[in-house]
């Protein structure tokens, strides 16, 4: 049984490099996310402490996680596109 994609995607020579970069980005984000969960579990009182601009840590960290995901997404796309252009050139 063949499970070919609907559209032929061709050979991507950058696949391995992109996968490695993806794992690195994933580990970085997971560490930051784990920090949030860990504070909630072990030092929940820290979440209410005023942090920046009158906002508490919970707000700054929560918003930060959302914004970080977006920013890392753009960085990932930028470098992956560069890798594809370079490695699939020939």
């Amino acid at each position: 049984m063949i499970h070919e994609p609907v559209v032929e995607t061709g050979i991507d020579k950058a696949a391995a490099a992109k996968a490695k970069f993806g794992v690195i980005m994933f580990v970085i984000y997971t560490l930051v996310y784990s920090g949030f969960v860990l504070i909630g579990l072990t030092k929940p009182e820290w979440m209410g402490l005023e942090f920046v601009g009158g906002q508490n840590l919970a707000i700054i960290y929560g918003f930060g996680l959302i914004v970080l995901a977006i920013v890392m997404g753009f960085i990932y796309n930028y470098y992956c596109t560069k890798m594809e252009d370079r490695m699939n050139k020939h």
Binding site: E4, V6, D12, F26, L41, M47, N56, I66, G73, C80
Partner: protein
């Protein structure tokens, strides 16, 4: 709650539904092959697919459920926003591109790409079906909740309307029309949520949300003989006293009517505070604040009891900025409404008492998920928090109806770009949920019987036009997500199970027909479940779907991509263990015990979210079974 039905609301609702159906008719004529039915021919532009991802993902759980949860429990509802968005990181960095390369129409295709295994086909098709059905329930519940204020119809009719429309959409045109429905409603939802947030900030803060807002009665009382309550005011008479948990409630007669009050004891001073209540009679009759629903004695609630700006107490503010808004809520005091249930003779009474909560507590985790010793947090409370955050993080990239969207674009690059568009759009929307939820909490719009309606009811305070548009979009939101889920489910039945597992010979047209018949069956099943689960918070229910997906599917996906020793039997066993353990824990959880009419504390497993147990269990199963069945891999060449 009785709602005024507006003609404008009905017109806008019909327009949006008409638009959706028109699209379906248009694309139905173009859908002839299996590839166009299941994967829109793989020709959707990445930007359109990205917003369609957002439209698919920002389901009833996000708009109705999260806003409702924030409106009732503050930051704990926002935890869902954080977790739901963080899950996309797993999808982008680890899953998007390899899955695009491996699959054809369904998630099962991708999992089975290396093995051609009957075990995987069976396990993955069952898993897709179960996860999709778990996800379908809250969407249908949300749809039912929406039509009550929007069209003045009963909950079950809303479920029926959505079910019928979606069956029609999916059974006519499949993934292409589903994509454009999701694209339109995703874009509209983000635009109008932004407008609603601007209204909230412009409105600022006030102690009296509107001129018709209920003025809650307060009565001073004293204790006689150490046990009996006595009220000096002769207008009141004590009729009964009841306890519910740590709370005491007293039934007072006032002006010939009976009302329940919460007993508040502070520094030896006793104050009786008026509460909302419903009474369910043995005959089946239900009274709202002691009268039939039609007398409209039940009112919307939610207000601030103290507004503090720059250290000073004020009664109102002007327009505020986004950060100032959060700061002021954090420094002020909010009146939330807590639900308590008890028996009063033959009657079942549900009371929502005023619960004055400091803004500081509202703006950090703890009102649902107890985390501090002061709040009485137990080991299992902390595990519930951890389990939820784990399931949300790992669940997104394991949702079959999300994964199949990777097959609608032309390349891996397009898959990656559409994921980033989705993350940006969804992330922006999730930030707005905090404003919409807090806005609903303090603006006197909450219907205590349905937390799901907080967002749309908030829009109603800013005008019937905005309410109508927001509600119609929310309804389209349900249509879009349910369409995606039914496409995934019909793919699991018709493509994975009938075509691939049972290997029934079918022409391309026959495959499309089988998919359409499967869509109709799943749709009917979803309608029944949507009616049965009425009244539950939709975001909580979606959290469970995430836990089942993360347990059943994610270990298989990640190990397939990153561990060469993974075997077909390892994947299939892991899926089955993930499904059985996660659903088993859910069925014996405190929340389900409450749903069965039993005492939640008697539940044998004190966890509401199963992820912390079921995800590791699925991973261990995959590793152990794969290591035990290595000889299966030795005959295959996986170098490609």
């Amino acid at each position: 709650m009785i709602y005024e039905v507006s003609n404008l609301a009905i017109i806008i609702f019909l327009f949006i539904v008409g638009l959706v159906l028109g699209l379906s008719f248009y694309f139905a004529r173009k859908t002839k092959s299996a590839s166009s039915y299941y994967a829109a021919g793989g020709n959707i532009h990445w930007a359109v697919n990205g917003i369609a991802f957002a439209g698919d993902y920002l389901s009833a759980a996000s708009f109705l459920g999260i806003c409702g949860m924030i409106a009732y429990s503050g930051y704990d509802g926002f935890l869902y926003s954080i977790g739901y968005l963080a899950g996309w990181v797993v999808a982008l960095f680890l899953v998007a591109e390899p899955l695009k390369k491996l699959g054809k129409y369904t998630f099962t295709d991708a999992l089975d790409s290396r093995f051609n295994s009957k075990y995987i086909k069976l396990a993955a098709s069952i898993s897709t079906l179960i996860v999709s059905v778990f996800y379908l329930i809250p969407q249908m519940v949300g749809a039912g909740d929406l039509v009550v204020p929007l069209l003045g119809l009963p909950h079950w009719i809303g479920v029926l309307i959505v079910g019928s429309l979606v069956i029609f959409i999916v059974a006519t045109a499949g993934m292409t029309s589903t994509t454009y429905v999701q694209f339109i409603k995703g874009a509209l939802l983000i635009i109008f949520s932004t407008i609603l947030t601007i209204y909230i900030l412009n409105n600022g803060f006030t102690l009296t949300p509107n001129e018709n807002y209920h003025k809650f009665d307060k009565v001073a009382a004293s204790m006689v003989n150490g046990t009996d309550l006595s009220i000096a005011d002769p207008d009141y008479q004590v009729k009964a006293t009841q306890r519910a948990g740590s709370k005491t409630f007293v039934k007072l007669e006032r002006g010939g009517n009976e009302y329940w009050y919460n007993v508040n004891i502070k520094e030896d001073k006793i104050t009786l505070e008026e509460a909302l209540y419903t009474t369910s009679k043995p005959s089946g009759e239900k009274l709202y604040n002691g009268a039939p629903k039609s007398e409209r004695k039940f009112y919307q609630v939610g207000h601030l009891s103290k507004i503090v700006i720059d250290g000073k107490e004020v009664s109102k503010s002007g327009p505020v900025g986004p950060f100032e808004f959060l700061r002021i809520v954090g420094n002020s005091e909010v009146v939330r409404f807590s639900k308590n249930t008890f028996q009063d003779g033959d009657d079942k009474v549900t009371v929502w008492n005023q619960n004055v909560t400091s803004g500081g507590k509202v703006m950090k985790p703890g009102l649902i998920y107890k985390l501090t010793k002061e709040a009485g947090a137990t080991f299992w409370d902390r595990m519930n928090f951890l389990s939820l955050m784990l399931a949300l993080f790992l669940g997104t990239s394991a949702l079959p109806h999300i994964l199949i969207r990777y097959y609608t674009v032309s390349s891996q690059r397009a898959a990656r770009k559409s994921t980033i568009v989705a993350i940006a759009a969804i992330g922006f929307f999730y930030i707005l949920t905090l404003y919409m939820g807090l806005g609903a909490m303090i603006n006197g719009v909450l219907d205590v019987e349905s937390s799901n309606m907080s967002g749309p009811l908030l829009a109603k305070t800013f005008g019937i036009g905005l309410f109508s548009i927001i509600s119609a979009i929310a309804f389209a939101t349900v249509l879009g997500t349910v369409s995606g889920l039914i496409v995934a489910s019909s793919g699991a039945i018709a493509h994975d199970f009938i075509d691939k597992y049972l290997q029934v010979e079918m022409t391309d047209r026959g495959k499309v027909k089988a998919g359409k018949i499967a869509a109709v069956c799943v749709g009917i099943f979803a309608i029944i479940l949507g009616i049965l689960f009425k009244g539950m918070n939709v975001s909580f229910l979606v959290g469970l779907a995430f836990a089942v997906a993360a347990s059943a599917n994610l270990p298989s996906i990640l190990f397939l991509l990153f561990w060469k020793k993974t075997t077909a039997k390892g994947i299939a066993s892991s899926i089955f263990v993930g499904i059985v353990s996660s659903i088993g824990i859910i069925l014996f959880s405190p929340t389900m015990y409450e749903k069965y009419g039993l005492i939640p504390k008697d539940a044998p497993i004190p966890l509401d979210n199963p992820g912390i147990i079921s995800i590791p269990l699925a991973v261990i199963t995959l590793v152990v079974v794969s290591l035990l069945t290595q000889k299966d891999n030795s005959t295959k060449d996986f170098s490609k």
